[in-house]
Symmetry: C2
């Protein structure tokens, strides 16, 4: 154990929200409030932007029970941002300001809760502080429904979104079979570059309610082949359910959602709806069938009522581990997850990864988990993901509706 | 009690599915299987179409535990149809066929589980059988997420959809506030003629996460006023959440979703997306703000994981009551719900309504529950709806996903 570092801690949240990012924040805040080395705990209003604007909430003034409700409160409760911080070697304006704020509040612990870009911010702050000689410890706490962070078995937030998606697919499967007339359903799922979330639709197959076809952005999309795939299944079964990533793209890299007039569909007008509406239209024109496009939209990333308790527990632990490791002298690391299988039983160990090895690298679905026809996902994915979505959250309710945390958010002076 | 009528019973499901229509079917099937007067219990494959095609499932061959899972299985498990049966005075072909099937299986009890049109079918079958002299008892078991059936305080299926909608609005509310930049969100909710489901968005306000504006089809929609409403709130708060019924219409009766090129929006191209995408586009053009359209789509009617236990219990009871009443001599009736408030505590009594008084009449949201500005819902609605959405379902899970009923569906000979 290294020398004790006494001072304040600050936590910020960044990037797109998830159902459990606040569970990680709670892990940081609760552990920091309880730590002997940490004198004050601050929350950045809207991530690093709040740091730059000297807008820090004093977390010590919050009611303990309300803070605990963060475990089941979706979205980023402290507020998020999508602020790309400069390279300190080129422009150190922001870093000077951060150091100023660090000195003002005697901040010695910096925790940043986010995805790829956030780990990059974290890494840059860490390196600048080391260079400037301000003794502080910087830790990244991961989150991303996209599951694309390098070096960790999976990412906090992914499993809850996966559970929402798989459950919704099960329910749509039932609904889409209700009439004895034909029906094709296209479900659009988030994931611009990685297909993890769309692959989660395949989990519904383990309870007999899976989609017929799945298209992910790890491989090129071919509209003609897609139409043949759908038509073949529709002609055989009278029903067809398709799951597609928002990020599917043609061989030339053009996103299908952006290709307003492809050679196949022949439409020339503006796309008002998203990819699901677009594909539904193309399929309808080709088959004449009744087609419905469904976009799971924001709900897949904020549907905390369907969060995985495993995900909540691990997300909390990621935050807690970050604080404990920092207090013990670690810095410049991101908390990661290591899968441990003992007699076929899943457990998860917290590990620490150098921030430099994580930032700005995207992990994709292994190509061998995609079927040779490029229209499905193998059972390897279910082996990987099923342990992660286990467990139902014990949510606090009011009027039969979610009772989220209500923080006072008192600005620190 | 009237004379005992011994014979078989048949149940059919019709119209759009709900999260709890199978709970009603289970109420009928379980009670009928346990009744001394009922010799066999059949399920129509796809409603009255299965009856006409002599496709009846023998429900006695199902496993009792699987049948019980119908309580938490969404959609119409027996299959549904949208078949409009003729007026028997004009064309009695279908009725002759139905009587033939009744005689073949000695069917003496006919239960039909559906909405407005289904009650009309039920009524016609009831009157034809009475005229033809075939001694049988015909009962309607209501269902509709639209909540628009006459004579009943509320309809089985409504509360579960309402709970799904209100919970989703709470979660979207959190998500839409995550950045410190402006954001307008338009949520499209089902309801072609009645605004009950859209009004359910207002329930989220009781836990502090409600929409800013709500538009229902009970009153005419004015695009200019809508844009002013949204802009005023957006300019004041930087955020605005709007809930709209799919059925909102202009004063001339044109659905907003069908008006491809209104004077206000000026677009001339085909609508690929639905109403939410359309309004999002109009608002974006007007305000320049970041706007997101969300269509809750099928999920609101099949999201059984968020069903209301009160709704499940009452739906089951509606089916059970129909069988018990029929065995006791009732016919030509629909089961309805009567609200009883005792010391402020809600309970629900089963009542019987003449089918003739129910069929083909739509009940709408009372105009006095709509705010004078026509852009909100008063707290009267919450008083009405909150008791209905109470209670969380105890669902059977497998792999962390819903384990729905798996019926054998053995065709009767």
């Amino acid at each position: 154990m290294s020398e004790k570092l006494i001072g304040a801690a600050v936590i910020g949240q960044s990037g797109g929200p998830t159902s459990v990012i606040n569970a990680s924040a709670y892990g940081v805040i609760r552990t920091a409030l309880d730590s002997e080395c940490i004198t004050n705990v601050y929350g950045m209003a809207h991530g690093i932007k709040g740091m730059l604007a000297d807008q820090l909430y004093d977390m010590g003034q919050e009611d303990a029970e309300e803070l605990k409700l963060l475990l089941n409160t979706p979205s980023s409760e402290l507020g998020s941002c999508r602020y790309k911080i400069a390279d300190p070697d080129k422009d150190d304006t922001d870093y000077k300001r951060i150091l100023e704020i660090f000195k003002k509040y005697n901040i010695r612990y910096f925790f940043y809760n986010g995805g790829n870009d956030s780990m990059d911010t974290c890494d840059k702050v860490s390196r600048y502080m080391a260079k400037s000689g301000w003794d502080c410890r910087v830790m990244g706490v991961p989150k991303t429904i996209d599951n694309d962070l390098y070096g960790t078995d999976h990412c906090p937030g992914f499993a809850s979104a996966a559970k929402y998606i798989a459950t919704s697919v099960c329910e749509v499967y039932k609904d889409a079979r209700v009439y004895d007339t034909g029906m094709i359903t296209v479900i659009e799922i988030m994931g611009r570059h990685a297909g993890w979330l769309t692959a989660a639709a395949s989990l519904a197959s383990t309870v007999g309610c899976g989609p017929d076809l799945i298209y992910v952005p790890e491989v090129d999309f071919d509209m003609d082949k897609f139409l043949k795939d759908v038509t073949d299944i529709y002609n055989k079964n009278g029903k067809c359910i398709v799951a597609v990533s928002e990020g599917i793209h043609y061989a030339d890299g053009t996103f299908v959602s952006e290709a307003k007039a492809s050679a196949t569909d022949g439409f020339g007008h503006a796309q008002l709806g998203g990819l699901a509406a677009h594909l539904a239209n193309v399929v309808k024109e080709k088959t004449g069938a009744k087609v419905r496009g469904i976009e799971l939209s924001l709900l897949q990333r904020c549907g905390a009522h369907l969060a995985s308790q495993t995900d909540i527990d691990e997300s909390f632990l990621a935050g807690k581990t970050a604080v404990e490791a920092a207090v013990n002298g670690e810095t410049g690391k991101m908390v990661g997850f290591k899968r441990v299988m003992t007699d076929g039983k899943y457990s998860c160990e917290m590990i620490l990864l150098p921030l430099t090895s994580v930032a700005n690298y995207e992990k994709k679905v292994p190509l061998e988990w995609i079927t040779p026809d490029h229209n499905g996902i193998t059972s390897d994915f279910a082996d990987y993901a099923l342990p992660l979505i286990a467990g139902e959250p014990d949510r606090k309710l009011e009027n039969g509706l979610p009772r989220f945390a209500r923080l006072k958010k008192v600005l620190a002076k």
